[in-house]
């Protein structure tokens, strides 16, 4: 995949980055480093921030929550979810009918369409919505040199 102009980071990618015991942690870190080193314009949604920061507060406390929030706000722009975007996202959630496709993920899908961005995620439902995602299969498998 050519270098995308805009990438929106989904909650599923943030979870993978947070814990080195996560199945996709290594690939997530490689992809994230690639994106920030190539200075790709990064985005996330206010709902993903709310979802993931709540998880960190519960698991690790307010200090780690603050580090996370500062880091993400440094790295990415925030797509603030409006009422129409919320309603559109909720329709996706109802249609998908999957516990893995959260409202946070659905707002990522809505924002990706609005911003014409590629989604950085480990959630296959984005493909069902015909939204391009990272990391690509080619990048994950590539290790040629």
């Amino acid at each position: 995949m050519p270098l995308p102009e805009k990438v929106i980071i989904d909650a599923s990618a943030l979870y993978a980055l947070l814990s080195d015991r996560h199945t996709n942690h290594e690939v997530a870190v490689q992809t994230f480093e690639w994106l920030i080193d190539r200075e790709v314009e990064l985005w996330t949604t206010s709902y993903c921030l709310a979802e993931v920061s709540s998880f960190i507060l519960e698991q690790a406390g307010v200090e780690d929550g603050s580090i996370f929030m500062e880091a993400i706000l440094d790295a990415a722009h925030v797509y603030w979810v409006s009422k129409p975007a919320h309603e559109e996202a909720w329709q996706h959630v109802v249609r998908m009918h999957s516990p893995h496709f959260t409202l946070g993920c659905a707002t990522t899908a809505v924002a990706a369409r609005k911003l014409k961005a590629v989604v950085f995620a480990f959630e296959e439902h984005f493909l069902e919505l015909s939204i391009p995602t990272l990391p690509s299969r080619r990048r994950v498998q590539k290790n040629r040199l």
Partner: protein, 208 residues
Amino acid sequence: MKNRRSRPESDRETIVDRVLTHYRLDTESFRARMPDVAEALDSMFPPHRLSRTPFGLTENERSHRELTLRNLLSDLRRGDISTGDATRTLEQCAVLAEDDSLGLEVDRRTLLQLLRLFLGKPVGRITTATTISATDDTNVKAARHISLLRGIILDLTTDMRLVSITINPSRIKGRQRIMRFVAMLKPSSNSSTQRDNSDSETDNHATS
């Protein structure tokens, strides 16, 4: 003749790179000037092997650049690399990075090592935003700007020759701030019950 024989391998590869670039960018005028060379290249790069990568490299060009880079990196690991070679290695990295073909072995540490050779000092010693020239020719103009690492931009000509490197120390430090949350959730920081919940919940959320 003696000089030609003693020309380093990396110089020869650079000349091949230049010939290939001109052949690819303007095949027809290349053919008009050097029909015999164009014919030889046609046979080396038949149409079915001319499929373009995202950046526009052919499979053969990409393979050639990867091979060149591999040789230069071997020299780097042996400590047998000049400033000129480091410059050429950074050029190859920039082309392959733009093509999304840069192997994962060329990690941040390797790139910083190359930059150290180019600069003559570690990148961390540079405290103010600066542009460092890679050529004495003041007529050469940069046409492409490729970010190799956050805060480090390679300025290159249209045929991907390095003109200068622009370094922004505040963006380099910003990278460290951003990476602080990565692998933040350590199992040892919680009770065993919380750990188990954390792991299973993280995987449930994020694994496809």
